[in-house]
């Protein structure tokens, strides 16, 4: 056996990630994005309750293109975090633990998030 410490490969570009791993890291990333969105969201709620004029201006602002793009990112973040979170809660209850089940539910999370995201984009 060779002496010395075991070889380490942390080059992410060379690692093939299972879909469950992708769902997991996206769950963390979406969580961070949602956290960063908290102050803006409460401010938006503040404006929506302040006066009819502020309510209308908020509506116009939310419908502007750059804000719509941001909204798409945040809505996806919410959807993915929610669905991946539910998947984690089910795993806590020992539901979906086998590799095939875990893979299937991971794909369901990704597909479900995108599906509802498109529904949101179409509706709004």
């Amino acid at each position: 056996m060779a002496k010395g410490p075991a070889p380490v490969n942390l080059d992410l570009r060379t690692i093939a990630f299972p879909v469950m791993a992708v769902v997991s890291i996206l769950h963390r990333i979406s969580g961070i994005l949602l956290f960063l969105a908290i102050p803006l969201s409460i401010y938006a709620m503040h404006l929506s309750l302040k006066s009819a004029q502020d309510f209308e201006r908020l509506g116009a602002f939310l419908h502007s293109l750059p804000v719509r793009l941001l909204a798409v990112v945040l809505v996806w973040s919410l959807l993915h975090h929610l669905f991946a979170g539910i998947r984690f809660l089910l795993l806590d209850l020992a539901i979906g633990l086998s590799r095939t089940q875990a893979r299937m539910t991971a794909w369901l999370v990704l597909a479900g998030s995108l599906l509802l995201l498109f529904t949101f984009v179409w509706a709004i």
Binding site: G31, F35, I38, M45, L49, A52, L89, D92
Partner: protein
């Protein structure tokens, strides 16, 4: 310092359940019974049960966000001093956000809404 992660895990799951139920309910409510403009939105939110549900939402959100951000910081920030500085700032921010949200809800005039 030896602590178990059990309390944080429980709070994260409990807050997650309320957040999930609330958000799904809110989305469904707004889809099927959207509020009508400024007056409709204010009047709806001014109802005590709705206000309470939102208050619990913001409380759960801060608890959930705290556990989540703390997990991320613990994973990536290894300097104790930096970690304490970041976590303290985040904690203050979340408390301030909760206070703001509660003040917003309390400020809706029940008499004129």
């Amino acid at each position: 310092m030896l602590t178990s992660g059990l309390k944080a895990w429980v709070w994260q799951r409990l807050s997650a359940i309320y957040l999930a139920v609330f958000l799904i309910w809110l989305a469904a409510h707004m889809w099927f019974f959207p509020t009508a403009g400024f007056t409709g939105w204010r009047a709806w939110l001014a109802q005590p049960v709705i206000s309470m549900a939102f208050a619990l939402f913001f409380l759960s959100l801060m608890v959930h966000a705290w556990v989540g951000v703390r997990d991320v910081v613990m994973d990536y920030v290894h300097s104790l001093v930096t970690r304490v500085a970041i976590l303290t700032s985040v904690l203050l921010l979340l408390l301030a956000m909760a206070a703001w949200a509660f003040l917003l809800l309390a400020g809706i005039d029940y008499r004129t809404a």
